[in-house]
Symmetry: C2
Protein backbone atom coordinates (compact mmCIF):
# COMPACT_ATOMS: atom_id res chain seq x y z
CA UNK A 1 0.00 0.00 0.00
CA UNK A 2 1.16 3.54 -0.82
CA UNK A 3 0.76 6.58 1.47
CA UNK A 4 -0.57 9.76 -0.17
CA UNK A 5 -0.29 13.17 1.53
CA UNK A 6 -2.88 15.84 0.68
CA UNK A 7 -2.95 19.58 1.39
CA UNK A 8 -6.61 20.56 1.66
CA UNK A 9 -8.48 23.89 1.73
CA UNK A 10 -12.11 24.11 2.84
CA UNK A 11 -14.73 26.69 3.68
CA UNK A 12 -15.88 25.43 7.09
CA UNK A 13 -19.24 27.25 6.97
CA UNK A 14 -21.16 24.29 5.59
CA UNK A 15 -19.46 21.53 7.55
CA UNK A 16 -19.77 19.94 10.98
CA UNK A 17 -15.97 20.18 11.30
CA UNK A 18 -13.23 17.92 10.00
CA UNK A 19 -14.08 14.72 11.81
CA UNK A 20 -16.52 12.16 10.41
CA UNK A 21 -19.96 12.40 12.11
CA UNK A 22 -23.03 10.18 12.23
CA UNK A 23 -25.71 12.78 11.55
CA UNK A 24 -23.96 15.74 9.98
CA UNK A 25 -21.66 16.29 7.04
CA UNK A 26 -17.98 16.58 7.93
CA UNK A 27 -15.08 17.45 5.62
CA UNK A 28 -13.45 14.08 6.30
CA UNK A 29 -16.27 11.98 4.87
CA UNK A 30 -16.78 14.39 1.94
CA UNK A 31 -13.15 13.87 0.97
CA UNK A 32 -13.18 10.14 1.77
CA UNK A 33 -16.22 9.60 -0.48
CA UNK A 34 -14.52 11.43 -3.36
CA UNK A 35 -11.30 9.40 -2.90
CA UNK A 36 -13.38 6.22 -2.74
CA UNK A 37 -14.98 7.10 -6.07
CA UNK A 38 -11.57 7.87 -7.53
CA UNK A 39 -9.67 4.79 -6.32
CA UNK A 40 -12.51 2.28 -6.07
CA UNK A 41 -11.51 1.33 -2.52
CA UNK A 42 -12.72 2.50 0.88
CA UNK A 43 -10.44 5.28 2.15
CA UNK A 44 -9.72 6.44 5.69
CA UNK A 45 -8.08 9.83 6.18
CA UNK A 46 -5.75 10.85 9.01
CA UNK A 47 -5.42 14.60 9.49
CA UNK A 48 -3.04 17.00 11.22
CA UNK A 49 -5.90 18.76 13.01
CA UNK A 50 -9.54 17.98 13.81
CA UNK A 51 -10.96 21.40 13.10
CA UNK A 52 -14.30 22.22 14.78
CA UNK A 53 -17.58 23.00 13.00
CA UNK A 54 -17.34 26.32 11.16
CA UNK A 55 -13.53 26.46 11.28
CA UNK A 56 -11.78 26.92 7.92
CA UNK A 57 -8.62 25.48 6.43
CA UNK A 58 -6.23 26.80 3.81
CA UNK A 59 -3.65 24.06 4.34
CA UNK A 60 -4.96 21.11 6.36
CA UNK A 61 -2.71 18.07 5.84
CA UNK A 62 -4.04 14.51 5.72
CA UNK A 63 -2.94 11.12 4.43
CA UNK A 64 -4.54 7.91 3.22
CA UNK A 65 -3.34 4.51 2.11
CA UNK A 66 -4.14 3.16 -1.32
CA UNK A 67 -3.17 0.49 -3.83
CA UNK A 68 -4.16 2.82 -6.69
CA UNK A 69 -1.49 3.30 -9.37
CA UNK A 70 -2.36 7.02 -9.83
CA UNK A 71 0.89 9.08 -9.57
CA UNK A 72 1.04 10.94 -6.23
CA UNK A 73 0.93 14.44 -7.71
CA UNK A 74 -2.10 13.57 -9.85
CA UNK A 75 -4.50 12.92 -6.98
CA UNK A 76 -5.11 16.64 -6.37
CA UNK A 77 -6.57 17.50 -9.79
CA UNK A 78 -8.32 14.12 -10.11
CA UNK A 79 -10.14 14.29 -6.77
CA UNK A 80 -11.05 17.98 -7.16
CA UNK A 81 -13.25 16.98 -10.09
CA UNK A 82 -15.28 14.84 -7.65
CA UNK A 83 -15.48 17.32 -4.76
CA UNK A 84 -18.00 20.08 -3.99
CA UNK A 85 -16.55 23.53 -4.56
CA UNK A 86 -16.33 24.11 -0.79
CA UNK A 87 -13.44 21.61 -0.53
CA UNK A 88 -10.34 21.65 -2.71
CA UNK A 89 -7.13 19.66 -2.64
CA UNK A 90 -4.28 22.11 -3.24
CA UNK A 91 -1.45 19.57 -3.63
CA UNK A 92 -0.75 15.84 -3.33
CA UNK A 93 2.33 13.63 -3.20
CA UNK A 94 3.42 10.16 -2.17
CA UNK A 95 5.26 9.99 1.16
CA UNK A 96 7.15 7.30 3.08
CA UNK A 97 5.11 4.51 4.64
CA UNK A 98 4.46 5.26 8.29
CA UNK A 99 4.09 9.02 7.71
CA UNK A 100 1.25 10.25 9.94
CA UNK A 101 0.39 13.98 10.17
CA UNK A 102 -0.46 13.77 13.88
CA UNK A 103 3.12 12.60 14.51
CA UNK A 104 5.05 14.07 11.60
CA UNK A 105 3.71 17.62 11.46
CA UNK A 106 6.24 19.64 13.44
CA UNK A 107 4.57 23.05 13.31
CA UNK A 108 1.21 24.56 12.38
CA UNK A 109 0.02 28.08 11.60
CA UNK A 110 -3.43 29.24 12.65
CA UNK A 111 -5.03 32.60 11.91
CA UNK A 112 -7.89 34.28 13.73
CA UNK A 113 -9.69 37.10 11.89
CA UNK A 114 -11.88 39.91 13.16
CA UNK A 115 -13.85 42.24 10.90
CA UNK A 116 -14.25 45.53 12.79
CA UNK A 117 -17.03 47.75 11.53
CA UNK A 118 -20.08 49.50 12.89
CA UNK A 119 -22.08 47.87 10.09
CA UNK A 120 -21.85 44.14 9.44
CA UNK A 121 -20.30 43.08 6.14
CA UNK A 122 -22.14 40.26 4.29
CA UNK A 123 -18.86 38.95 2.86
CA UNK A 124 -17.32 38.23 6.25
CA UNK A 125 -20.34 36.81 8.07
CA UNK A 126 -19.06 33.19 8.09
CA UNK A 127 -15.36 34.07 7.74
CA UNK A 128 -14.50 36.38 10.64
CA UNK A 129 -15.71 37.47 14.07
CA UNK A 130 -17.59 40.62 13.16
CA UNK A 131 -17.52 43.27 15.85
CA UNK A 132 -18.47 46.96 16.08
CA UNK A 133 -15.53 47.52 18.50
CA UNK A 134 -12.50 49.19 16.95
CA UNK A 135 -9.88 46.80 18.36
CA UNK A 136 -6.50 48.22 19.42
CA UNK A 137 -4.17 45.97 17.42
CA UNK A 138 -1.08 47.48 19.13
CA UNK A 139 -2.26 46.40 22.59
CA UNK A 140 -3.18 42.97 21.21
CA UNK A 141 0.23 42.66 19.52
CA UNK A 142 1.95 43.51 22.80
CA UNK A 143 -0.04 40.79 24.60
CA UNK A 144 0.57 38.25 21.83
CA UNK A 145 4.32 38.67 22.33
CA UNK A 146 3.99 37.16 25.83
CA UNK A 147 3.04 33.73 24.49
CA UNK A 148 6.26 33.29 22.46
CA UNK A 149 8.45 30.41 23.64
CA UNK A 150 7.53 27.33 25.69
CA UNK A 151 4.75 27.75 28.24
CA UNK A 152 2.17 25.74 30.12
CA UNK A 153 -1.04 26.73 28.28
CA UNK A 154 -3.40 25.02 30.78
CA UNK A 155 -5.35 28.29 31.12
CA UNK A 156 -6.04 28.21 27.36
CA UNK A 157 -7.47 24.70 27.09
CA UNK A 158 -11.19 23.94 26.93
CA UNK A 159 -12.55 21.43 29.43
CA UNK A 160 -12.51 17.91 28.02
CA UNK A 161 -9.06 18.05 26.48
CA UNK A 162 -7.01 14.98 27.48
CA UNK A 163 -3.30 15.42 26.89
CA UNK A 164 -0.11 14.22 28.59
CA UNK A 165 1.24 17.72 28.92
CA UNK A 166 -0.21 21.20 28.50
CA UNK A 167 3.18 22.68 27.60
CA UNK A 168 3.46 23.96 24.03
CA UNK A 169 6.04 26.01 22.13
CA UNK A 170 4.98 29.11 20.19
CA UNK A 171 7.39 30.15 17.44
CA UNK A 172 5.53 33.15 16.06
CA UNK A 173 2.63 35.30 17.27
CA UNK A 174 1.43 38.63 15.93
CA UNK A 175 -1.65 40.83 15.70
CA UNK A 176 -1.90 43.22 12.77
CA UNK A 177 -4.59 45.41 11.25
CA UNK A 178 -5.30 45.81 7.53
CA UNK A 179 -8.24 48.14 6.96
CA UNK A 180 -11.25 46.74 8.81
CA UNK A 181 -9.55 43.35 9.32
CA UNK A 182 -7.52 42.44 12.39
CA UNK A 183 -5.53 39.18 12.17
CA UNK A 184 -3.93 37.14 14.94
CA UNK A 185 -1.39 34.77 13.38
CA UNK A 186 0.26 32.10 15.49
CA UNK A 187 2.71 29.29 14.74
CA UNK A 188 3.43 26.56 17.27
CA UNK A 189 4.59 22.98 17.60
CA UNK A 190 1.11 22.02 18.77
CA UNK A 191 -2.10 23.46 20.16
CA UNK A 192 -4.43 22.33 22.96
CA UNK A 193 -8.16 21.90 22.40
CA UNK A 194 -9.66 25.35 21.59
CA UNK A 195 -6.33 27.00 22.49
CA UNK A 196 -6.26 29.42 19.55
CA UNK A 197 -9.91 30.40 20.07
CA UNK A 198 -9.35 31.07 23.80
CA UNK A 199 -6.20 33.07 23.00
CA UNK A 200 -8.26 35.02 20.41
CA UNK A 201 -11.09 35.60 22.91
CA UNK A 202 -8.58 36.93 25.45
CA UNK A 203 -6.89 39.16 22.85
CA UNK A 204 -10.35 40.45 21.86
CA UNK A 205 -10.99 41.64 25.43
CA UNK A 206 -7.52 43.23 25.53
CA UNK A 207 -8.15 44.96 22.20
CA UNK A 208 -11.34 46.48 23.59
CA UNK A 209 -9.49 47.77 26.65
CA UNK A 210 -11.67 45.62 28.90
CA UNK A 211 -8.64 43.67 30.12
CA UNK A 212 -4.95 44.52 30.68
CA UNK A 213 -2.43 42.95 28.23
CA UNK A 214 -1.78 40.37 30.93
CA UNK A 215 -1.07 37.13 29.02
CA UNK A 216 1.97 36.33 31.20
CA UNK A 217 -0.18 36.51 34.35
CA UNK A 218 -2.89 34.25 32.87
CA UNK A 219 -0.23 31.72 31.76
CA UNK A 220 1.21 31.72 35.30
CA UNK A 221 -2.22 31.16 36.90
CA UNK A 222 -2.87 28.11 34.70
CA UNK A 223 -6.63 28.29 35.29
CA UNK A 224 -9.14 28.45 32.42
CA UNK A 225 -11.30 30.89 34.36
CA UNK A 226 -8.52 33.52 34.22
CA UNK A 227 -8.49 33.61 30.41
CA UNK A 228 -11.05 35.22 28.09
CA UNK A 229 -14.04 33.85 26.21
CA UNK A 230 -13.74 31.19 23.52
CA UNK A 231 -13.85 33.12 20.24
CA UNK A 232 -16.47 31.86 17.76
CA UNK A 233 -15.31 29.29 15.20
CA UNK A 234 -15.94 31.23 11.98
CA UNK A 235 -12.88 33.48 12.54
CA UNK A 236 -10.43 30.57 12.75
CA UNK A 237 -8.27 29.26 9.87
CA UNK A 238 -5.76 26.41 9.85
CA UNK A 239 -3.33 28.13 7.48
CA UNK A 240 -0.47 25.68 6.98
CA UNK A 241 1.45 22.73 8.39
CA UNK A 242 5.21 22.05 8.29
CA UNK A 243 6.88 18.64 8.35
CA UNK A 244 10.17 20.13 9.55
CA UNK A 245 10.70 21.89 12.88
CA UNK A 246 9.96 25.58 12.49
CA UNK A 247 13.19 27.48 11.71
CA UNK A 248 13.98 31.15 11.17
CA UNK A 249 13.82 30.73 7.38
CA UNK A 250 10.23 29.42 7.66
CA UNK A 251 9.20 32.93 8.72
CA UNK A 252 9.19 33.96 5.07
CA UNK A 253 6.38 31.51 4.37
CA UNK A 254 3.99 32.97 6.95
CA UNK A 255 1.08 34.73 5.28
CA UNK A 256 -0.62 37.20 7.61
CA UNK A 257 -3.82 38.07 5.76
CA UNK A 258 -6.15 36.15 3.41
Amino acid sequence: MRTIRLVVAYDGAGFAGWQRQQNALAVQQTLEMALHRLTGDPVTLHAASRTDAGVHALGQVCVFHTASPIPGERFALAVNALLPSTVSVQASCEVAQGYLPRHNIAAKQYRYLWYTSRMPNPFWQTRAWQTPFLLDACLMQQAAGDILGSHDFAAFMAAGGTVKTTVRSIHYASVKRQGSLVAFNVVGNGFLYNMVRILAGTLFEIGQGRREPEMAKILAEKRRVEAGVTAPPQGLYLVQCWDEPFAADSLDSIVLFP
Copy 2:
Protein backbone atom coordinates in the same frame (compact mmCIF):
# COMPACT_ATOMS: atom_id res chain seq x y z
CA MET B 1 -43.71 61.48 2.86
CA ARG B 2 -39.93 61.47 3.44
CA THR B 3 -37.36 60.01 1.03
CA ILE B 4 -34.68 57.78 2.61
CA ARG B 5 -31.48 56.84 0.73
CA LEU B 6 -29.74 53.58 1.62
CA VAL B 7 -26.28 52.25 0.72
CA VAL B 8 -26.56 48.47 0.66
CA ALA B 9 -24.03 45.61 0.54
CA TYR B 10 -25.05 42.07 -0.34
CA ASP B 11 -23.52 38.72 -1.14
CA GLY B 12 -25.30 37.88 -4.38
CA ALA B 13 -24.67 34.12 -4.13
CA GLY B 14 -28.00 33.33 -2.48
CA PHE B 15 -30.19 35.76 -4.42
CA ALA B 16 -32.01 35.84 -7.75
CA GLY B 17 -30.57 39.31 -8.32
CA TRP B 18 -31.74 42.71 -7.10
CA GLN B 19 -35.16 42.87 -8.71
CA ARG B 20 -38.27 41.45 -7.04
CA GLN B 21 -39.26 38.05 -8.52
CA GLN B 22 -42.36 35.87 -8.33
CA ASN B 23 -40.73 32.51 -7.58
CA ALA B 24 -37.26 33.29 -6.29
CA LEU B 25 -35.81 35.40 -3.52
CA ALA B 26 -34.40 38.75 -4.66
CA VAL B 27 -32.50 41.31 -2.61
CA GLN B 28 -35.20 43.92 -3.22
CA GLN B 29 -37.99 42.02 -1.51
CA THR B 30 -35.70 40.87 1.32
CA LEU B 31 -34.95 44.51 2.07
CA GLU B 32 -38.55 45.67 1.45
CA MET B 33 -39.88 43.08 3.91
CA ALA B 34 -37.42 44.20 6.60
CA LEU B 35 -38.32 47.88 6.03
CA HIS B 36 -42.02 46.96 6.15
CA ARG B 37 -41.49 45.31 9.54
CA LEU B 38 -39.54 48.35 10.73
CA THR B 39 -41.92 51.08 9.54
CA GLY B 40 -45.23 49.22 9.60
CA ASP B 41 -46.03 50.31 6.05
CA PRO B 42 -45.54 48.64 2.68
CA VAL B 43 -42.28 49.82 1.14
CA THR B 44 -41.16 49.96 -2.50
CA LEU B 45 -37.47 50.38 -3.24
CA HIS B 46 -35.94 52.12 -6.27
CA ALA B 47 -32.31 51.18 -6.95
CA ALA B 48 -29.39 52.56 -8.94
CA SER B 49 -28.77 49.22 -10.63
CA ARG B 50 -30.74 46.01 -11.16
CA THR B 51 -27.91 43.58 -10.51
CA ASP B 52 -28.32 40.08 -12.01
CA ALA B 53 -28.55 36.82 -10.06
CA GLY B 54 -25.21 36.03 -8.38
CA VAL B 55 -23.85 39.57 -8.76
CA HIS B 56 -22.62 41.24 -5.56
CA ALA B 57 -22.87 44.76 -4.21
CA LEU B 58 -20.68 46.69 -1.82
CA GLY B 59 -22.47 50.00 -2.40
CA GLN B 60 -25.80 49.64 -4.16
CA VAL B 61 -27.92 52.76 -3.65
CA CYS B 62 -31.70 52.68 -3.28
CA VAL B 63 -34.47 54.88 -1.90
CA PHE B 64 -37.94 54.47 -0.43
CA HIS B 65 -40.68 56.77 0.76
CA THR B 66 -41.98 56.61 4.30
CA ALA B 67 -44.02 58.50 6.86
CA SER B 68 -41.96 56.94 9.65
CA PRO B 69 -40.47 59.43 12.14
CA ILE B 70 -37.21 57.42 12.49
CA PRO B 71 -34.23 59.80 11.91
CA GLY B 72 -32.63 59.18 8.49
CA GLU B 73 -29.27 57.99 9.80
CA ARG B 74 -30.94 55.51 12.18
CA PHE B 75 -32.52 53.34 9.50
CA ALA B 76 -29.24 51.52 8.75
CA LEU B 77 -28.70 50.01 12.20
CA ALA B 78 -32.42 49.48 12.78
CA VAL B 79 -33.08 47.56 9.58
CA ASN B 80 -29.86 45.51 9.85
CA ALA B 81 -31.31 43.89 12.95
CA LEU B 82 -34.16 42.56 10.76
CA LEU B 83 -32.07 41.45 7.76
CA PRO B 84 -30.34 38.14 7.04
CA SER B 85 -26.56 38.40 7.36
CA THR B 86 -26.18 38.25 3.56
CA VAL B 87 -27.64 41.78 3.21
CA SER B 88 -26.46 44.79 5.19
CA VAL B 89 -27.30 48.47 5.01
CA GLN B 90 -24.03 50.38 5.30
CA ALA B 91 -25.48 53.89 5.63
CA SER B 92 -28.79 55.75 5.46
CA CYS B 93 -29.88 59.37 5.25
CA GLU B 94 -32.87 61.50 4.31
CA VAL B 95 -32.67 63.15 0.89
CA ALA B 96 -34.71 65.72 -1.00
CA GLN B 97 -38.10 64.65 -2.30
CA GLY B 98 -37.84 63.60 -5.93
CA TYR B 99 -34.37 62.06 -5.52
CA LEU B 100 -34.29 58.88 -7.62
CA PRO B 101 -31.05 56.84 -7.97
CA ARG B 102 -31.78 55.95 -11.60
CA HIS B 103 -31.78 59.69 -12.41
CA ASN B 104 -29.56 61.15 -9.69
CA ILE B 105 -26.64 58.73 -9.64
CA ALA B 106 -24.04 60.38 -11.88
CA ALA B 107 -21.34 57.68 -11.80
CA LYS B 108 -20.95 54.06 -10.73
CA GLN B 109 -17.95 51.84 -10.05
CA TYR B 110 -18.04 48.15 -10.93
CA ARG B 111 -15.34 45.58 -10.25
CA TYR B 112 -14.82 42.24 -11.94
CA LEU B 113 -12.61 39.71 -10.11
CA TRP B 114 -10.74 36.64 -11.38
CA TYR B 115 -9.05 34.14 -9.11
CA THR B 116 -6.20 32.60 -11.11
CA SER B 117 -4.92 29.31 -9.79
CA ARG B 118 -4.34 25.78 -11.03
CA MET B 119 -6.33 24.55 -8.03
CA PRO B 120 -9.74 26.03 -7.22
CA ASN B 121 -10.03 27.99 -3.97
CA PRO B 122 -13.16 27.26 -1.88
CA PHE B 123 -13.24 30.84 -0.60
CA TRP B 124 -13.65 32.37 -4.06
CA GLN B 125 -16.09 29.91 -5.62
CA THR B 126 -19.07 32.31 -5.52
CA ARG B 127 -17.03 35.52 -5.46
CA ALA B 128 -14.76 35.45 -8.53
CA TRP B 129 -14.35 33.80 -11.93
CA GLN B 130 -11.93 31.03 -11.05
CA THR B 131 -9.58 30.12 -13.85
CA PRO B 132 -6.42 28.03 -14.18
CA PHE B 133 -5.10 30.48 -16.80
CA LEU B 134 -2.42 32.86 -15.56
CA LEU B 135 -3.93 36.05 -17.01
CA ASP B 136 -1.59 38.74 -18.36
CA ALA B 137 -2.80 41.77 -16.40
CA CYS B 138 -0.50 44.11 -18.39
CA LEU B 139 -2.11 43.19 -21.71
CA MET B 140 -5.56 43.50 -20.12
CA GLN B 141 -4.64 46.89 -18.64
CA GLN B 142 -3.49 48.09 -22.06
CA ALA B 143 -6.82 47.02 -23.59
CA ALA B 144 -8.85 48.56 -20.75
CA GLY B 145 -7.28 51.94 -21.52
CA ASP B 146 -9.04 51.95 -24.91
CA ILE B 147 -12.50 52.24 -23.35
CA LEU B 148 -11.73 55.53 -21.52
CA GLY B 149 -13.81 58.47 -22.69
CA SER B 150 -17.15 58.53 -24.53
CA HIS B 151 -17.84 55.65 -26.93
CA ASP B 152 -20.68 53.77 -28.51
CA PHE B 153 -20.67 50.52 -26.54
CA ALA B 154 -23.21 48.73 -28.77
CA ALA B 155 -20.77 45.81 -29.15
CA PHE B 156 -20.83 45.34 -25.37
CA MET B 157 -24.60 45.16 -24.83
CA ALA B 158 -26.50 41.91 -24.41
CA ALA B 159 -29.48 41.33 -26.69
CA GLY B 160 -32.70 42.59 -25.12
CA GLY B 161 -31.36 45.87 -23.82
CA THR B 162 -33.65 48.75 -24.81
CA VAL B 163 -31.98 52.12 -24.50
CA LYS B 164 -32.22 55.44 -26.31
CA THR B 165 -28.47 55.57 -26.88
CA THR B 166 -25.63 53.08 -26.53
CA VAL B 167 -23.07 55.84 -25.93
CA ARG B 168 -21.55 55.83 -22.44
CA SER B 169 -18.65 57.70 -20.82
CA ILE B 170 -15.95 55.79 -18.97
CA HIS B 171 -14.01 57.85 -16.43
CA TYR B 172 -11.70 55.17 -15.08
CA ALA B 173 -10.67 51.67 -16.20
CA SER B 174 -7.82 49.53 -14.93
CA VAL B 175 -6.74 45.90 -14.62
CA LYS B 176 -4.37 45.01 -11.80
CA ARG B 177 -3.06 41.83 -10.21
CA GLN B 178 -2.66 41.19 -6.47
CA GLY B 179 -1.38 37.68 -5.83
CA SER B 180 -3.82 35.22 -7.40
CA LEU B 181 -6.50 37.90 -7.85
CA VAL B 182 -6.91 39.99 -11.00
CA ALA B 183 -9.31 42.94 -10.77
CA PHE B 184 -10.91 44.99 -13.54
CA ASN B 185 -12.23 48.23 -12.04
CA VAL B 186 -14.33 50.56 -14.12
CA VAL B 187 -16.15 53.83 -13.40
CA GLY B 188 -18.65 55.28 -15.85
CA ASN B 189 -21.69 57.53 -16.06
CA GLY B 190 -23.80 54.51 -16.97
CA PHE B 191 -23.57 50.95 -18.23
CA LEU B 192 -25.57 48.99 -20.81
CA TYR B 193 -27.14 45.64 -19.99
CA ASN B 194 -24.32 43.12 -19.25
CA MET B 195 -21.75 45.70 -20.44
CA VAL B 196 -19.24 45.09 -17.63
CA ARG B 197 -19.53 41.31 -17.96
CA ILE B 198 -18.97 41.44 -21.74
CA LEU B 199 -16.01 43.81 -21.23
CA ALA B 200 -14.67 41.35 -18.62
CA GLY B 201 -15.18 38.37 -20.95
CA THR B 202 -13.30 40.20 -23.70
CA LEU B 203 -10.48 41.17 -21.33
CA PHE B 204 -10.31 37.54 -20.19
CA GLU B 205 -9.64 36.38 -23.74
CA ILE B 206 -7.02 39.13 -24.15
CA GLY B 207 -5.37 38.12 -20.85
CA GLN B 208 -5.06 34.55 -22.10
CA GLY B 209 -3.44 35.74 -25.35
CA ARG B 210 -6.33 34.27 -27.37
CA ARG B 211 -7.27 37.72 -28.67
CA GLU B 212 -5.31 40.87 -29.49
CA PRO B 213 -5.80 43.90 -27.17
CA GLU B 214 -8.22 45.23 -29.78
CA MET B 215 -10.89 47.04 -27.76
CA ALA B 216 -10.82 50.07 -30.09
CA LYS B 217 -11.54 47.84 -33.09
CA ILE B 218 -14.47 46.11 -31.35
CA LEU B 219 -15.91 49.49 -30.30
CA ALA B 220 -15.68 50.68 -33.91
CA GLU B 221 -17.41 47.55 -35.26
CA LYS B 222 -20.37 48.03 -32.86
CA ARG B 223 -21.44 44.42 -33.22
CA ARG B 224 -21.94 42.11 -30.20
CA VAL B 225 -20.45 39.18 -32.14
CA GLU B 226 -17.07 40.95 -32.30
CA ALA B 227 -16.71 41.12 -28.49
CA GLY B 228 -15.89 38.28 -26.10
CA VAL B 229 -18.04 35.99 -23.96
CA THR B 230 -20.25 37.29 -21.17
CA ALA B 231 -18.26 36.70 -17.99
CA PRO B 232 -20.14 34.75 -15.29
CA PRO B 233 -22.02 36.82 -12.67
CA GLN B 234 -20.16 35.73 -9.52
CA GLY B 235 -17.10 37.84 -10.38
CA LEU B 236 -19.06 41.11 -10.62
CA TYR B 237 -19.41 43.69 -7.85
CA LEU B 238 -21.31 47.00 -7.85
CA VAL B 239 -18.74 48.84 -5.73
CA GLN B 240 -20.08 52.37 -5.29
CA CYS B 241 -22.34 55.07 -6.67
CA TRP B 242 -21.76 58.82 -6.80
CA ASP B 243 -24.44 61.53 -6.79
CA GLU B 244 -22.05 64.09 -8.27
CA PRO B 245 -20.43 63.87 -11.71
CA PHE B 246 -17.15 61.98 -11.46
CA ALA B 247 -14.29 64.44 -10.96
CA ALA B 248 -10.53 64.01 -10.63
CA ASP B 249 -10.72 64.15 -6.84
CA SER B 250 -13.14 61.21 -6.83
CA LEU B 251 -10.22 59.03 -7.99
CA ASP B 252 -9.01 58.84 -4.39
CA SER B 253 -12.20 57.03 -3.39
CA ILE B 254 -11.76 54.17 -5.88
CA VAL B 255 -10.93 50.94 -4.10
CA LEU B 256 -9.30 48.43 -6.45
CA PHE B 257 -9.40 45.19 -4.44
CA PRO B 258 -11.82 43.76 -1.89
